[in-house]
Symmetry: D2
Subunit: 347 residues, 4 copies
């Protein structure tokens, strides 16, 4: 399934070494001011840097909008965007054609499909996320109109919180032909109360699914997360006074629906599986071998996962925001009821 | 959205103090031997105990199958099951009608819908999970046919790993009018490689969404989870030899697709929000007040979340198993290709 | 797939001779006044009459609401309704257990599922439509709030337009152990312009799919329908003046989106396949035989299809109405633009 | 909604005068031999001719495959295809910018979205169907592997069945600044029994929705269609002998599931709404005016609808074929049952 969302639906396509990657957004509200200039900065942020720690594949990642815009505004019809692969070097992967790279999807894709595009991981490549970031940029434009902003930060690299030390940590891993993971926090500010659906599409469930769907993410927490499991109810409950909540242990979501407080999400990212260190593995016909992954690989993908995580959170919230609009159908009827201003639906 | 799954679709309904709860399963394969006897034991396991630590609402939770079975086997048409509420006592909640209980969905439901059923939390009640467990029992029957089994365990209650000490921990919280949370691990054994879809329906993404959609769950990990963020690639990668993987740091999923190894999932459950201790809160018309939640509440829901977590994992896997069947359409073509036995699609 | 709709989603279940039939409506807007009294009259209308032309199975078809209502209003959570089968007489079908009835789904269900519930057609029975009519009654309540009404009429029975003669036509067919079909027109009045989605969910496409999904319907027309194929553009185009359209050849839909004019739909219903006349057929193990269908069967189902057709049209429009609400997210922005009052979105 | 299908999902995008049109197919089975050569001939067939009766917009409609193919075979990942607009001449539409063309979607798009791309109808243009035909070509490849073929024919143009006379009929309409419609029959041969889902996704319901979703189609019939409404049960029922059905009044579908007989579908297409004859209409700000549509328009689109209708039928059947594969999960269990060879699931 390469479509994400219920009302704001993004369908992505493309492989690491195919002609292009892209996304079709179906359900984007009409009338939104939008151009490639809104999208390109986000794509640029996702691109690898140019220092010694960066993956040397130098894609420019220029987005091209193919449909859905008329005179600078969205029309409500599908918004298609493509990013051409300019720097594909599929021959780099010839040596890996018949080998399962440890920690990669090589074995599982073959198990699933009976075939696989081995060139840079094909569809399983992190390069796939360029389409998500493009879609996320559109979602962020919608969120901005609703007063919602998304920010994120790298909390730790390989257990190290200090940014200067993090660079050193990556350098050391790289020097040893190894790689490191880390932690990221993403926050949505300004989200109105009432987003998310009870039961299976709880807002936290949607967020968890969205962020765990990013390659390399192995853990996710909302608010206090796992720490809540060691707290008492009296510590974890967010008490209320007339001006709002006194704390935000819940991470902005109660019963699967946004409270109006900051939505706080933390994810754990595994170390890049592509390493130069020798590893035991097998070939597709079952022979044991040792593999050293050479080529253009990041020793740490955490900084590049950050804009992807922000994009995915944006997609979830833009979709939930549009979904929630449907309930307005009975707004006049609801207005007659007597709610506190704080709790009332945002009209 | 009260429907879960793509091919094995469960739609649940019902409130804590309405006439009944239930589920309709659409897409259950035909020909499966099934009766209420397959479902009741799971429901019984979810029911509260009868000791001093248990919620005293004494529902018998007898499942009734309304459709989809003929002469002891599923027909492929929708399987509807209901569980009547026999012990509903809505008047218990009269005092809470206009009060937002901290840590509950009272405020957020009203923000979303402009109305709410305050009786025991209505749809946001943990009682809703009885329908999920009934559906999960059917999913487990399918998984059993495919050789997949699901088991789970409570790892910690309020940071305590020892079961005897856990009971003490709960008792102490209850005596103080408080509550505690905990950790649960759920494992699927025997899962074939190849389940799960790349990108947005990665198997880990589906699992994360499914388990985070259980009320009270605030964190989720697959395999090494957050610990992976502090590991190096050389430590985390699961190397392979001809007989399989040498480790299972990935928790049985690579690139969003099952590897054939155990699928290992851990969740963190927050402490029950209903506590007797006084808490600051506001009424629906914005007046500050202090609330003490009396009534029939568990001081710790972790043991009751366990069968729900198992049920949700079962729903994800049964759905993924059926989804994967679709690829067989080109099986003859695929058979001509030369795969290792291990990696080949399970025919 | 037993779920219908995108935002107003109805999942039905139940067989002709099982314990009950029912429907779960997910996505019903909150705050709607609703009780069994809104639904029962529609179910009564669908019930067979008691005269000599009617099917003698005397079900009372009392609807029971299991969830989703609180203090007389919908809550936004799933609305479950069941109708118990009281008059099931499965033994009536013992003789047909191993025989494919011509014109029925016996052969095809077995081809699809490898099993079938032969009792009265199981899930393929017209009795299944009782759940659709219950759901349609809820949809009609929503439409009524928006000023939309649905009416239908029987145009022809076996080519006869005069109601008195129609009864005679049915009587004659019945006397000869035969059955007849007919034509139905369904009209939606008061529908605002703007409903329906371009391309695959055109409003006419949704209506065609919905009505063709009623057992026995073999043809569908919107507006002039097939007659349009013999018209010229200058005859068929609906010209406009400042007060609206000068004609309604399009049947209220242009480019798949409602124009604000009456939505006019016509369907052709085949004769009931269950007839007493001897017919050639085969048994499930391939032996040729002759079958005479005895039992409780209508010689003409057209009058009973009418409320089902109205229900299905209501489901399509209620869903489209709620879907359209989503676009309001950018209403303020759109208001700034300069539209004619007639063409502007109905705010 | 610009996505079609459940398992074989096509998402289309693009406007008449934007940069490109295209489609992303998600759920295409892996291992299928496929190249642009399989798709181009279908696109060429949809292109306007070059005679005096043809629309003079001379697009080459060359398809470009962007993803989902590796070494000549599908990989199971999304297949993206684009067709660039080379001959867009948006300035042709400047005069129509503020005018509602009768019979077109101009008024309704504006009512829905509050904005519209007036250039050649934007997304509502018949040019949108180029993406459907590309997707249909892939579906036909799948159907071919399963032994299913799709053929269609133009039955009538403006009531005229003789092909030579049809051309004359179109010429006469064109000379008078007018246009004509017609009838098309599409047939699927070789379809196995068992395709289609009961109730809302009946195969005939899916086909009706798919074909009514083509611009200009106003009526649809399966098998005998509306004629069935004037038949008796004894005439319409398809009796069976050991070798199969004795007739095919049902059009190859019973109870919404394929019988194995030819699937026969007839559609009625309205006359092209763009005509040179003067028509009354209004401007977007409500002023009455007279419009004459000049430019590159077909006086009869029926021959160009034909390949689109074939494509849509192919999409429905490919999707149903893949959906049906899911039931194989319990094949071994089903094999134990005793069916006639004819009725048994096609293993």
């Amino acid at each position: 399934m390469n479509t994400f969302g219920r009302s704001f639906r993004c369908t992505t396509f493309g492989e690491s070494h195919g002609p292009a990657l892209g996304v079709v957004i179906d359900g984007c509200p009409p009338g939104l001011l939008l151009s490639a200039k809104d999208i390109q900065p986000l794509l640029d942020r996702r691109r690898p840097g140019h220092g010694p720690l960066a993956s040397p594949r130098a894609e420019t990642d220029q987005v091209e909008i193919l449909s859905g815009i008329f005179e600078g505004r969205t029309t409500g019809t599908p918004l298609a965007m493509i990013i051409w692969n300019r720097e594909a070097r599929p021959s780099d992967y010839d040596a890996l054609r018949d080998i399962y790279r440890p920690g990669h999807a090589d074995f599982t894709y073959l198990a699933k499909y009976g075939t696989r595009d081995h060139r840079g991981g094909g569809r399983s490549s992190g390069r796939e996320t360029v389409a998500r970031v493009a879609a996320g940029a559109v979602a962020m434009r919608i969120l901005a109109e609703a007063g919602i902003s998304i920010t994120g930060s790298v909390d730790e690299i390989h257990g190290v919180a200090d940014p200067a030390m993090q660079e050193e940590e990556i350098r050391r891993a790289m020097a040893e032909g190894d790689s490191v993971g880390g932690l990221i926090t993403v926050i949505a500010k300004g989200c109105p109360p009432g987003l998310g659906d009870p039961v299976f599409c709880k807002l936290d469930a949607l967020i968890a699914g969205a962020l765990m769907g990013i390659g390399g993410v192995k853990g996710i927490e909302i608010g206090d997360g796992f720490a809540a499991a060691r707290m008492r109810g009296s510590e974890h409950n967010d008490q209320m006074i007339s001006t709002g909540f006194l704390s935000n242990h819940s991470g902005g979501i109660l019963g699967g629906i946004s409270t109006g407080a900051d939505i706080v999400v933390r994810i754990g990212v595994k170390p890049t599986p592509s390493i130069r260190k020798p590893q035991q593995t097998v070939t597709v016909d079952g022979k044991e071998t040792v593999v050293r992954i050479e080529g253009r690989h990041d020793p740490c993908i955490v900084p590049r996962v950050l804009p992807v995580a922000e994009a995915m959170l944006s997609l979830v919230l833009a979709d939930a925001l549009i979904e929630q609009e449907k309930y307005r159908v009975f707004l006049p009827m609801r207005k007659k009821r007597d709610f506190s201003k704080g709790a009332a639906h945002e009209n």
